[in-house]
Symmetry: C2
Subunit: 162 residues, 2 copies
């Protein structure tokens, strides 16, 4: 069993490209989610659900629900990095948290909490994780179990809080 990690996984790095910014040269909200979505793809590769794994299992993970918090503007050309933490799982769902940073730096620019569902693509319905995927999910969840809860996790949107 791997030792608990002291930091989330670094799952994706990219420069902010012109297609992703608005009239002000700032990263548009949807492209924060694209960065997190590409980080989810990279995580799924690590869990054995890359193209070969999807073909072998007939499974794929779908995003059910996603929450985003935007903390700081990100500008054209900046080098950014997504870090990923497993918050929990059951037999067919994976609850995770991504944070966006300038590459190698501590301050969080944005956060996304997500719930993913394992789906049998032929049957088009939810299915338990294939056994090798379940083992990897459990190992990663164990490795992340002592990480602190992220600042925005579990949040609902309301005018009553700022």
């Amino acid at each position: 069993m791997p030792a608990p990690l002291t930091a989330p996984l670094s799952t994706y790095r990219s420069a902010v490209i012109p297609e992703w910014v608005d009239y002000n040269g700032h990263l548009r909200d949807a492209y924060y989610l694209l960065l997190f979505s590409l980080a989810t793809d990279a995580l799924l590769d690590q869990l054995g659900l890359d193209e070969a794994g999807r073909a072998a299992t007939g499974h794929s993970l779908y995003t059910l629900e996603c929450h985003l918090n935007f903390v700081q503007e990100v500008k054209l050309g900046q080098q950014v990095e997504v870090r990923t933490q497993i918050l929990g799982h059951d037999q067919k769902r994976l609850h995770l948290h991504h944070s966006l940073h300038l590459s190698g730096e501590a301050p969080m620019l944005a956060a996304s909490e997500q719930m993913l569902l394992n789906v049998s693509t032929a049957a088009a319905r939810a299915a338990p994780f294939a056994e090798p995927v379940q083992r990897r999910v459990e190992a990663l969840a164990r490795a992340h179990q002592e990480l602190p809860a992220p600042r925005f996790a579990g949040r609902a949107i309301s005018l009553a809080r700022s």
Copy 2:
């Protein structure tokens, strides 16, 4: 004062283009948000924060927080429509809800609840809405006040609920 509306505003229509779909031909999660983001832009135009309005007021609306629920797959080439409902506001925040549909059809394909903040761009800090914008926000909020609460509004992500 306008009469209360019986339906949310239709704010954005588009076909699903090849750049937005994954290896399966399904709309990728980030591009649902792009559709909602473009619908927010269209709403802001109606509230007087189009390019001329931003220049006149020195204000712009920033997304603070966003929640997305994915209900049904959307495929390459489908014609979709975003409908928008104001859930609430204060002097500098706008709380809204977008839903995604096949154009002209009732079933909801996805939903997004959002909190936007009015910002003085020169000062880079929150500011009360300019008076003409505030009046339009209030009129639209009144028009929407009798619409039913959307299915997913106010939700937090948790493994304890499905």
